[in-house]
Symmetry: C2
Subunit: 295 residues, 2 copies
């Protein structure tokens, strides 16, 4: 019986999975080395675990990537600092190695799709998945599909109010200084407070400020995307004390303007942690495989 293959392609590891969903997923981790060796190791895994063949394979990839189906570089990693991977045709190489249709998207869009299909946004046609870690990225599901548009969102780079009097840290984004990512990513927390985020006490003022910045961004996305639920993942969000702080601040910022129960008394179920943990990306890649087949 044929199954789907999924790859969460990261800069340090590839997580490969075979199955049809969370209940029957077999995974393996492969170190990211050269493009050719990494793709061959992934292909060997799929041949071994799916001897009957795959129906299709999906890839949720680190980037930047080209997602434009009309571009000659569709499915390529583009301007990454990892030199060996620059301009590598990842989707093409995986497709040729396995001889099946390939679905391709960003890692964060993959995680958004996984959480929307089987996780914290299950059953909702419109949701937002945000990862807050080394960087900040977001994937939006609109009408049940990943939003791409001209390219793909770069949600970490929106500008938010930054009160230099109370927070003189100038931000760490090399392009924008104090954009959201520049103010609220893991490296920003570490640079502002002089130590890794995970070593700061849960009562440290760092967390109220972090919640403020994230709530300002969530306000923009609530007003723009009108998601039915927001899933917050990534390393920084393992600080679970952030969730109630973010919800309170979001309610304060929206100030009752949008009269939907989810945004007034329902915030505990509206701003939520992920449910698929480290498997969101590879599970989302299975959905990409399914979509590539037109299933």
């Amino acid at each position: 019986m044929s199954v789907y293959g999924g790859i969460e392609a990261g800069g340090t590891k590839f997580v490969c999975g075979v199955g049809t969903g969370p209940e029957d997923l077999q995974t393996a981790r492969i170190s990211t080395t050269s493009p050719e060796a990494t793709v061959e190791a992934a292909a060997a895994f799929f041949r071994e675990r799916a001897p009957g063949g795959l129906k299709a394979v999906g890839i949720a990839s680190f980037g930047p990537v080209d997602l434009d189906p009309d571009s000659p570089a569709f499915g390529h990693i583009t301007s990454t600092p990892k030199l060996a991977w620059q301009n590598f045709d990842l989707a093409g190489a995986v497709g040729r190695a396995l001889g099946v249709p390939v679905g391709f998207d960003t890692d964060v869009n993959g995680a958004a799709l996984g959480e929307a299909r089987w996780g914290a946004a299950h059953g909702l046609a419109d949701s937002l998945y945000l990862t807050v870690g080394t960087g900040i990225g977001g994937g939006a599901i609109v009408h049940g599909r990943v939003l791409h548009g001209l390219m793909h969102p770069e949600m970490g780079h929106i500008r938010i109010p930054h009160d230099l009097a109370s927070d003189p840290y100038p931000g760490c984004c090399p392009y924008h200084g104090d954009c959201l990512e520049g103010l609220a990513s893991g490296p920003a927390i570490e640079a502002r407070w002089g130590g890794p985020a995970q070593e700061l006490d849960p009562g440290h003022p760092a967390w109220a400020l972090e919640a403020r910045y994230l709530a300002l961004a969530l306000t923009a996305w609530v007003c723009t995307l009108s998601p039915r639920r927001i899933v917050l993942g990534g390393g920084v969000m393992e600080q679970t004390q952030l969730f109630p702080l973010i919800r309170l601040e979001l309610a304060r910022l929206l100030n009752g303007y949008i009269r939907k129960r989810e945004l007034t008394e329902g915030l505990d179920g509206y701003v939520v942690p992920p449910q698929l943990g480290g498997r969101a990306g590879v599970l989302g890649a299975l959905v990409l495989a399914e979509q590539a087949l037109g299933a």
Copy 2:
């Protein structure tokens, strides 16, 4: 031969149209009086101009409105300050008067749909239409369809950086103070500078500040919705000197981070004025009619 009917329902007038698109559109303006008399006048117009009957009618309405198809109040005007219209079932009344399927959406979503079908965003599956006037509202087209999500966007209410040292005006939004609408709507310009926007000289510093605020908001929407084009309409945007100022500031804020030609050398064709003028809403309503029929 049957045609579509469209209504742009505003608080002071209803614009009614019969036809299939901009080339054959017959319109009439009806003053907004009582709900019953206004709907009856609209229905009389459609009976006269489409004696063979309409296939369907679309309504792009002032609000707030209920767009949730599962809600008992779907198609109603909800908490408007116009007392006679509070909780009026506009979609139901029009449907009963004409005996045809009814499409229903907000006025700004209607204009977004009209511009996407026949106007400045023609042929693009993903676009953003913004109106900057008494209020600020946005309609997003994603995968060729209007984005609704939980409710509908309230784009005017995102928070943007506000430097109180250079602009001490506190904003005029009764809910949020200095959200985008509070800082950049027509009433905000008038309150800040002490006179109506349209009376300020094109070289007045008001316009550089206005362009700055709108460009900050566009940055958030480019990073979130990744539209293929942004159409800026509404009374304030009749100050056409704003367009080059906004494009320059948007380029400065994005700072080359998103490497798409549209956002680097292509901004003249990316941030554009509407093409349908005052007919965007009623033409969008024709599209709503078509969609109601499932055509």
